[in-house]
């Protein structure tokens, strides 16, 4: 081996390396760009899951736009009030009220919905919905293969034993990914409702009451009992379907008590110590599971 050659090679690379690093060091000083430290701070305050609910591709983009003033501090849908406050504090802007929303399912069908045919394909709602209008007789019901559960970026949805997705309101941020993923999200099977919504109607059927009763034993039958029972004029049967006006609803639960179909649930963070989706009453929850089964058996007999 030629020792000189090795020395030359090492020397040549060393000279090149030192020279280029010197140039880079000078350039780093000379072309230094001041980055607004607030961008980093806002980014740290944001949830960082890049859900895109605010309309920006990433949390970094929204942080930049928030600092630039293009985006309101409360634009983060997922973060809600806490993040809005934190961002407003960093930016010195007036804290603004975040309209916090959570996802709610307007269907109580599950195993109480009648199947039109036995579906044996891919376990995906999107695939099933394409096959002859879906495996349910009801065209508005939850198909129950959990596309929303898989899509949820916050692990806030789970299928219960009745095959319905239950929203964990502790984790739900209202990003709306599930609504977009649900093949029936367009017809508000899943819908974003105000965080403080105290009740939710577990039916979304728009066809004739007789037809929907054939398809499901948990549907709204438009009996208007809830409308009469409501002391604050907050629930109305519109187009043969009970609809809650959340501006007026006080969460007294009168409609939940009176509904013969059990298709109105207590819901949301608004109720006393009710932090979970539909714990307590109605059809969507696990607590009322046994009553449901009894009801089905009674109806059958």
């Amino acid at each position: 081996m030629d020792l000189m050659l090795i020395l030359k090679a090492v020397g040549a690379l060393a000279v090149i390396g030192v020279a280029t690093s010197a140039v880079l060091a000078v350039a780093a000083k000379r072309f230094y760009v001041e980055v607004d430290p607030r961008i980093e701070a806002v980014l740290a305050a944001l949830p960082g899951s890049n859900c895109g609910a605010c309309g920006n591709p990433s949390c970094f983009m929204s942080a930049e736009r928030m600092v630039a003033g293009d985006l309101a501090p409360n634009a983060c849908v997922a973060g809600g009030q806490t993040v809005a406050d934190a961002v407003a504090l960093i930016l010195g802007a007036d804290a603004c009220e975040a309209v916090a929303v959570v996802s709610a399912r307007h269907c109580g069908g599950g195993d109480r919905a009648v199947r039109a045919y036995e579906y044996a394909g891919v376990r995906s709602c999107a695939a099933a919905a394409r096959l002859a209008g879906g495996p349910l007789l009801c065209s508005a019901g939850c198909i129950g293969f959990g596309d929303c559960v898989r899509a949820c970026p916050f692990d806030a949805m789970h299928l219960n034993e009745r095959g319905l997705p239950v929203v964990d309101l502790e984790k739900c941020t209202g990003c709306g990914v599930c609504v977009k993923e649900c093949p029936r999200g367009q017809i508000s099977l899943l819908e974003l409702v105000p965080e403080m919504a105290p009740v939710v109607v577990r039916c979304n059927a728009r066809d004739k009451v007789k037809a929907r009763k054939q398809g499901c034993s948990a549907c709204c039958i438009a009996c208007k009992k809830c409308e009469r029972a409501c002391p604050s004029d907050a629930i109305h049967v519109i187009d043969m379907l009970a609809v809650v006006d959340y501006d007026k609803c006080t969460g007294c639960g009168a409609c939940v008590e009176v509904c013969p179909q059990n298709c109105i649930d207590l819901f949301g963070r608004g109720g006393d110590a009710v932090a979970l989706d539909g714990v307590g009453h109605g059809t969507g929850d696990t607590a009322a599971q046994e009553t449901d089964v009894a009801g089905v058996a009674g109806a059958g007999a």
């Binding site: 030359k8 090679a9 020397g11 040549a12 690379l13 390396g17 280029t20 140039v23 350039a27 072309f31």
Partner: protein, 211 residues
């Protein structure tokens, strides 16, 4: 010193006849990565032209005054050139960030990617290392060793050819977005077919001027 016609031939040969993207298939990843939109493809082309010319100059100087005199070029040229090109791209990135934030934003992830772009390394090597690329040998007739001027013209030709192909392809892809393409072929598949047809057009030029 080479004549003007020789330089012109060098330029045309590098830009069209031996187009780096469409006849030699070097640097295909930006060809598909940045070509979905005209604006970024133009930004990418400009920065490739800039980086290629700069890096060829630098590698030529390093070859001529460091590697060749020491006799270590034959085995050291790849690490040395990579080192130089990487630092250059870093430098360009810093400069762009300061001078043109818009372009910096448009280039996004692709600017650092030029660091390891094979097209840049290939061109810089061809321009600096004598006899590395046969076309240069055929034109310059001097054992393939390009003078600094020839190296610059050659690199300019390659990078302009790169930009030309990239922008043409981006324009085609923008049109394709609006064309009634079958659902199965939409997006990448039709882009691959288009690239193949475009490449055929360029390959058709091979043999001109004996290149």
């Amino acid at each position: 010193m080479s004549s003007v016609s020789q330089l012109a031939l060098l330029f045309v040969g590098a830009a069209l006849i031996n187009n780096i993207l469409l006849t030699r298939f070097i640097g295909l990843c930006p060809f598909f990565g940045v070509s979905s939109n005209m604006e970024t493809s133009i930004g990418m082309s400009l920065s490739v032209i800039f980086v290629m010319v700069m890096s060829s100059t630098a590698t030529w100087v390093v070859w001529e005054f460091v590697l060749a005199p020491l006799g270590v070029g034959e085995f050291l040229y790849i690490p040395a050139f990579i080192l130089i090109i990487a630092s250059l791209v870093q430098f360009v990135e810093m400069y762009l960030r300061k001078a043109s934030p818009v372009l910096y934003r448009a280039m996004g992830i692709y600017l650092p990617l030029i660091t390891t772009n094979c097209a840049v390394l290939a061109t810089a090597t061809e321009a600096a290392k004598p006899g590395f690329f046969k076309m240069n040998l055929a034109i310059t007739n001097s054992a393939g060793a390009l003078s600094l001027g020839e190296a610059l013209v050659y690199t300019l030709g390659v990078s302009v050819g790169f930009g030309f192909a990239l922008v043409t392809f981006a324009a085609l892809r923008e049109r394709l977005e609006l064309a009634p393409v079958s659902r199965l072929m939409k997006g990448a598949p039709i882009a691959f077919i288009t690239a193949g047809l475009l490449s055929l057009a360029y390959v058709g030029m091979s043999g001109w001027f004996g290149l």
